[in-house]
């Protein structure tokens, strides 16, 4: 996974916020995490990647961020289902952009969403994963790109 | 006698094809370095077979394919080009060229392709 690939994911995540709320999301200092480190918030949208690289890309955000996002959209119901919908939509955006930009090199799966801690392994075992913190308003979410060759 | 016209902007490729062709009954009637020349030579000799490069100055291969087929619709055109021009090659074939030979090619590949082109029956 090179920088361009990572940028595509990062850009589509930040673009989503800007598009939806007119308030840009800021990318914070990206770093690496090992497969045994857990980096997950309350709601997570995951897309699977196959092809030259295999693994997952996920966007994980705290409940507060999802609720706030719902509020900005004029939605007053903040049930877990609503929050999942939001994170699912972000994952859809990621998948859509990735398919357009990377479709010739990778196969991007249909996204799925998780509330709370996932049962499955999301982080690639063989290599380190990229954690890209994304701040929107006063909430911190994270985009994790975890693939191996 | 079956007449062959070679169209390629590269002198080296033209010479290579000239040297390599050894199909019984096939005679090279001329060579052209671009589409404009090709049309001129075509009118002069009315060849049955044409080997056609795609990227050429002054009327490229695509236009040349269209122009030659407009002159004689049953002309058998073999596109000779690099795989990098795949999309263009497919367009040329869509316009009426009958086959494709990938550059670089060996003598055998060239002759086999020409024979295949000759024996191929549209109906």
């Amino acid at each position: 996974m090179n920088e361009q690939h990572l940028k595509i994911f990062v850009d589509s995540a930040t673009h989503y916020f800007k598009h939806l709320s007119n308030e840009p999301a800021a990318v914070q200092v990206p770093y690496l995490i090992d497969h045994d480190e857990s980096l997950i918030y309350d709601y997570t949208g995951v897309i699977g990647i196959a092809g030259l690289y295999k693994g997952n890309v996920y966007f994980s955000a705290p409940e507060g961020m999802m609720r706030y996002l719902l509020t900005t959209q004029g939605e007053n119901k903040h049930t877990p289902e609503h929050c999942l919908d939001v994170v699912g939509e972000i994952a859809n955006t990621l998948a859509g952009n990735a398919r357009r930009e990377l479709g010739s090199e990778f196969l991007i799966s249909v996204p799925f969403k998780i509330a709370g801690k996932p049962d499955m392994m999301l982080l690639a075992k063989k290599s380190r994963s990229y954690a890209i913190p994304i701040q929107w308003r006063f909430y911190m979410a994270v985009l994790v790109v975890s693939v191996e060759e | 006698m079956i007449k062959l016209l070679i169209v390629d902007d590269s002198n080296i490729i033209r010479r290579k094809i000239e040297r390599s062709v050894s199909v019984a009954g096939l005679t090279i009637v001329g060579t052209a370095a671009n589409g404009v020349e090709a049309v001129k030579m075509f009118k002069q000799h009315t060849p049955d077979l044409v080997t056609m490069d795609l990227t050429m100055p002054e009327m490229d291969g695509l236009e040349a394919v269209t122009a030659l087929l407009a002159l004689k619709s049953d002309t058998r055109i073999l596109v000779v080009s690099a795989l990098a021009d795949k999309t263009t090659a497919i367009e040329a074939i869509r316009r009426g060229a009958r086959g494709f030979l990938c550059k670089p090619f060996t003598d055998k590949e060239l002759n086999d392709a020409l024979v295949e082109l000759l024996e191929f029956d549209v109906r």
Binding site: K7, D11, P30, L32, R99, G103, L107 | F100, L117, F120
Partner: protein
């Protein structure tokens, strides 16, 4: 091929039978029709005959009756003309009709119109006619005078005729009766014959019909059986063949018959009627799908020679993904045309093979070749360094890189408080990377030197930017990842080399050289801080890179042995000093010669015991520190204005060497130019509780002095006077 021609032949014979059968059917029917027509016309004629024969009976009686009336009229002087006229008419009618029966010819029909009578050939009829004539001929003679003669002749002839008529009238009637009966017999015989012919014809036609029916049913059965056999044969092939086979029509729809393997290859069922491109789209990347669509398009163009476009096939070897990418396979598609009988239309026969195993093998081979090559290169790059030293380096590198990542993590998990946060990150990680590069350079590990240098490049580039955002730092993280992987790879290699060495050399510590040069990392025996040849190699390499000449002399290091972090820190500082001396201090030979100095510069490293610890001096006879160059560099950095700087004296300007991010080197090389160095050295020395100072004379020399207190746990090592 063989079966199809056999099929064609049997088809032809089938048609022949049908044609013959139908022809026969028509012939029979027509025959019956013609006979029917002919005989019924005969019957019509016979009916006229019967009719007229019957009339003869009546005429014979009327003749006799009229004769009697005539005689009566003549005797009683009544009206003669009316019976006479009646007699004439009756006579002529009877006579003409009898003649026609006898010889054939025209007669007057019942309606007064002429009809043709055939000569009666039937023996019974004939006999009746002849007998009738025998009586009629004299009768006729006797009648002539009555009919044509004048009154006296008529009166004279009349009694004779009347008596003849009375005598023979019954005879004529009988004969005409016989004739009628004979003719009736003939007609009914003909009707019987006609009925017979009709029955025969219909029977034949019926038989023919049954023949056709039977033949057809048999043939249908046979061809059904043949089709069934062919179908079963095809089915067997489709069930058992290992390739995926399917037929595409012009709309690229998959036919109903396809091989079982297709289901295995595509992990799905029911292909019949599906669109092939859509099926493809689900399993291959969009780009390939588009190329394939174009390619399929030309395959259906009749002018295209399918063999001559095979090299354009984008599906010749394609990576396909199934179950949302959970499973992937390499597939090879081949296309050929299947023409129908008249060769006008064709289907595309698609052959799909799962070539995953084959490709995997190829890839593995290629991969292992590539890896082997990389490993060899890496190995060559590290072989010159002893494994323990290397291991120590790797440990440090690992620690450094983790420290970098921890720094990133620390900032990354923070909400952005200040705008210059990113600048701070860069400033924090830079020295770590720089030190790593220095250490790598010292060990001549080009692989790491280059990578670390590239890392530094990125940091410098980002520092130079006005606006840095989080995603700009991505490239740093990517580079960090790669460096970590390299460290890991080299570590694995070192382990391998070590185990190899142990295999071949089970007692490495027995030779004296090994005990000196290869101390175990964990050993309590102090290792030399730096072997002087290490410094020499470093200086030499730096000089070579810059087109300079240098000789390095080191004293007092033979016994200056340190362990642990302190040794590493001090070594880093010394490496930096030597680097600084060669890169910034020593001039190129031409410049030195012009200044009246020896072409080769000299760097002296001197370690000695001091009153309260020890000191190390690094001295070079280069150009010294030029205050003006420092001023220019400071101006270039943009941190100070020209006015500010113009007020600074030389001492203050020289102090700039400890500023982070200033460099006087013209170009950035791996050796110098980033403007890091002395600030790092100063920090390291201070971390050891020591002090860094320098003295310089522009054009002549520059000397750095590290003063270390003797309370570092190192005092037992002592210093030997050089």
């Amino acid at each position: 091929m063989k079966t199809s021609t056999a099929h064609a032949r049997s088809g032809l014979s089938k048609y022949r039978t049908i044609v013959v059968s139908i022809a026969l059917f028509i012939v029979f029917d027509l025959g019956v029709l013609v006979m029917n027509f002919y005989i019924s016309s005969q019957i019509t004629k016979d009916a006229i005959g019967v009719n007229l024969a019957g009339r003869q009976r009546m005429l014979s009686q009327r003749t006799a009756k009229t004769l009697l009336q005539l005689q009566n009229a003549t005797q009683n002087s009544g009206d003669v003309e009316k019976p006479l006229e009646e007699l004439r008419k009756t006579f002529n009618l009877f006579d003409g009709t009898l003649r026609s029966f006898n010889e054939g010819g025209q007669a007057v029909g019942g309606d007064g119109k002429p009809v043709i009578l055939e000569r009666v050939d039937d023996p019974a009829g004939r006999a009746a006619i002849e007998k009738a004539f025998a009586v009629w001929t004299p009768y006729r003679e006797k009648l002539q005078p009555v009919l044509t003669g004048d009154v006296p002749a008529r009166v004279a002839a009349l009694p004779d005729v009347v008596s003849y008529a009375l005598a023979n009238n019954v005879q004529i009637l009988d004969q005409m009766n016989f004739l009628t009966t004979a003719l009736e017999h003939m007609a009914s015989a003909k009707a019987d014959r006609l009925r017979l012919i009709q029955v025969g014809g219909i029977t034949l036609a019926l038989m023919n019909f049954f023949v056709i029916l039977f033949h057809f049913i048999r043939q249908l059965r046979e061809s059904d059986a043949m089709a069934e056999a062919a179908r079963r044969e095809t089915q067997d092939i489709l069930e058992s063949v290992s390739e995926g086979l399917m037929l595409l029509d012009r709309d690229l729809k998959i036919g109903d018959q396809y091989s079982r393997s297709l289901e295995t290859i595509f992990n799905r069922q029911n292909f019949g009627g599906c669109s092939f491109p859509e099926m493809l789209r689900e399993v291959v990347p969009e780009k390939i799908y588009k190329e394939a669509s174009d390619y399929l398009d030309i395959l259906f163009k009749e002018h295209v020679n399918i063999k001559l476009v095979a090299s354009l096939n984008p599906l010749g070897k394609v990576h396909a993904y199934f179950d949302y990418g959970q499973q992937s396979k390499y597939l090879a598609f081949q296309f050929s045309r299947v023409h129908n009988k008249d060769r006008k239309l064709f289907h595309l026969l698609v052959t799909v093979k799962d070539i995953t195993a084959q490709v995997m093998l190829e890839n593995e081979l290629e991969q292992s070749q590539k890896q082997a090559e990389e490993k060899v290169n890496m190995m060559l790059g590290i072989l010159h360094v002893e494994p323990p030293v290397l291991r120590e380096f790797l440990d440090r590198a690992d620690r450094s890189l983790r420290e970098v990542n921890d720094t990133l993590k620390r900032y990354g998990s923070k909400r952005r408080a200040r705008d210059d946060q990113y600048g701070q990150v860069l400033q924090d990680i830079f020295p770590i990377v720089h030190t790593l590069k220095g250490e790598a350079a010292l060990l001549e590990l080009a692989l790491f030197v280059d990578k670390a240098h590239a890392f530094e490049d990125t940091i410098s580039e980002l520092r130079g930017r006005a606006n840095v955002s989080g995603d700009d730092l991505l490239s740093l993280t990517v580079k960090l990842d790669k460096l970590m992987s390299d460290v890991q790879a080299v570590r694995e290699m070192v382990e391998r080399i070590t185990s190899l060495k142990e295999t071949f050399d089970p007692a490495p510590a027995t030779t004296e050289a090994a005990s000196v040069k290869l101390p175990k990392v964990a050993s309590v025996a102090p290792a030399p801080l730096l072997a002087s040849d290490e410094f020499q190699r470093l200086a030499q390499k730096l000089a070579d890179d810059q087109g300079k000449q240098v000789s390095l002399a080191a004293h007092g290091f033979e016994t200056l042995a340190l362990v642990g972090e302190a040794a590493a820190t001090l070594r880093d500082a010394l490496v930096q000093l030597v680097r600084n001396a060669v890169v910034h201090g020593i001039e190129v030979p031409q410049e030195r010669t012009r200044a009246g100095k020896a072409a080769a510069g000299t760097v002296r490293l001197h370690a000695k015991a001091a009153a309260d610890g020890y000191e190390i001096i690094c001295h070079d006879d280069g150009r010294g520190l030029d205050a003006e160059r420092l001023r220019a560099a400071a101006l270039k950095s943009g941190r100070w204005s020209a006015e500010e700087l113009s007020g600074w004296d030389e001492h203050r300007l020289r102090g700039l060497v400890f500023e982070s991010g200033l460099s006087t080197a013209e170009a950035v090389t791996t050796a110098a130019g980033r403007g890091v160095g002395m600030d790092v050295v100063k920090r390291k020395v201070e971390a050891l509780g020591g002090h860094l100072a320098f003295a310089t004379q522009p054009g002549h020399y520059c000397a750095w002095r590290i003063t270390l207190p003797g309370v570092l746990g190192l005092d037992q090592l002592g210093f030997k006077a050089a």
